[in-house]
Amino acid sequence: MTLDLATITLRQAMNGLDNRDFSVFELTRETLLRIRATEPDLHAYVEVFEEDALKTSLYHDRAREAHKAWRPLMGLPIGIKDIFDIAGKKTLCGSRIRKDVDVAAYDAETVHRLRRDGAIFTGKTVTQEFAAGVVSAPCRNPWDLDRIPGGSSGGSAASVAIGTCLGAIGSDTGGSIRIPASVTATVGLKPTYGRIPLKGVYPLSPALDTPGPIARSVADALILYLVIANRAGEVANVDTMLEPFGSKSLMGVRLGVPASFFTDNIQPDVYASFVAAIDTLKSLGAEVVEVEWAEAPAARSVAALINRVESSAVHHDHIRSDEADLIDSHTRLRFEVGALVPGDLYLRARMAREAVRDGIARLYARHSLDAIVAPTLAATAPRADHLIVDLPDGPEDVGPALTRLTMPWNATGQPVISLPCGFDHDELPIGLSIIGKPDDEAGISRIAHQYETATAWFQTHAKAEAV
């Protein structure tokens, strides 16, 4: 196997290392060279750990030669969103207010699990300030450098898309894994809420915050998920976990397509790609039924209000300090407003969240659904210098426009995987979401893998030459 970082997946690199097609040092060196070549324009990284990564690569090569205990990620380059603590590094959270912060004393629990299972950290990836937004400046989209990479895990998605790491960790409070995955043609997996530890992750809204992977394929995302879920022992079984459901690969799978809320007021190219994806799923043997989730707008509102109030509490001191002006004006505004929402409304939002969860549970039961499929976003990536999204009902600010279809699933806490399903007329990526029952990450990955295998989107890559 040749080492081509433009196309290679995490799993292919695992095989390449196991077969000694290339060494960990060679993989790491090539990754770091690619970072040097692309970063001047892409800005996906806050900090690159060149020396640490090369030293660690030599350790892993020696460990492989000595046949030490095999770990699933042994020597694979992984990026970490800069809200996760890495021991000895600053966690800047994309904020000027933290420029003088001390280095972290310990790894975040997710980082610890990745390190323990052999990952080599390429660096800290760019996040929207405090993970509160979808723009992720100064990072740009590798498919079109005039466009945003989505957010808040924009640096993680951009680096995966261009091949300056083979997988990355992000976090999702209102869509922050799925949004950048959708607009960069990568795979983003938001796990079930509460299953991945938040220790060592700078909070935005603890009732919603969910760490998860961004990767180049469904298999890669599942592997990274298993590692951070402390289930690394299952990585060896990924092929079995992703095998077809029958002689037709989705035979017996029942999928719900939610009407109206998820298909109204979305860009025509996004709608066309979604319809084509449904046809593909049907052709693979899936039974597709239209369902109506009337509580979807309420679910979005529940997540939005909880998010605002909790993030305001997290930043209580920041917005009342002399340094408040150091926070981006939009971010500061949302933190300030959260402090003005009456407490009883926050508690009522928490109560309504349970009603939302019960409602979606009934929907799955009533229609015997294995999963729901929906467009990940209403739009493709807008321009970085014009943060307005053109939608059929008129222009909308980028924040609400890109979170409209993602936030309801933060309210329910269900696992969601977003994967590429096409391109618009400007050749910008479009994402498809598969939403599972709680704790069914493997199930939605299995469904997603059948779709991915049947389509060519997974093999279309952003080109570093364009960066």
């Binding site: 209000l305 505004l333 407003v337 402090a339 003005l340 929402v341 009522r348 349970e354």
Partner: protein, 80 residues
């Protein structure tokens, strides 16, 4: 979703009420920022209208479980 606000959801906040709320919250704003804060606050309150109808007929409030376990505190910590 209801077309008319439920009695449980607040009316839009006025500029005068905003000044009171800011005082309670201990926040200070320059005058030119007050309109955007007011607009954003009312947008957030609008969210409550979206989910208020879900609460009719729901069971008694059942918030996430609270763990009353005391943190470990050493005498050295306590003296700080």
């Amino acid at each position: 979703m209801p077309d008319t606000p439920s009695p449980n959801t607040p009316e839009p906040v006025t500029a005068e009420e905003l000044r009171v709320l800011l005082g309670i919250a201990g926040l200070t704003l320059s005058e030119n920022r007050a309109p955007e804060v007011l607009a954003e606050l009312n947008a957030q309150l609008e969210h409550a209208r979206q989910f208020d109808s879900l609460l009719k007929g729901t069971r008694e409030p059942d918030f996430a479980s609270y763990d009353p376990t005391f943190p470990k505190i050493t005498l050295e910590d306590d003296a700080k």
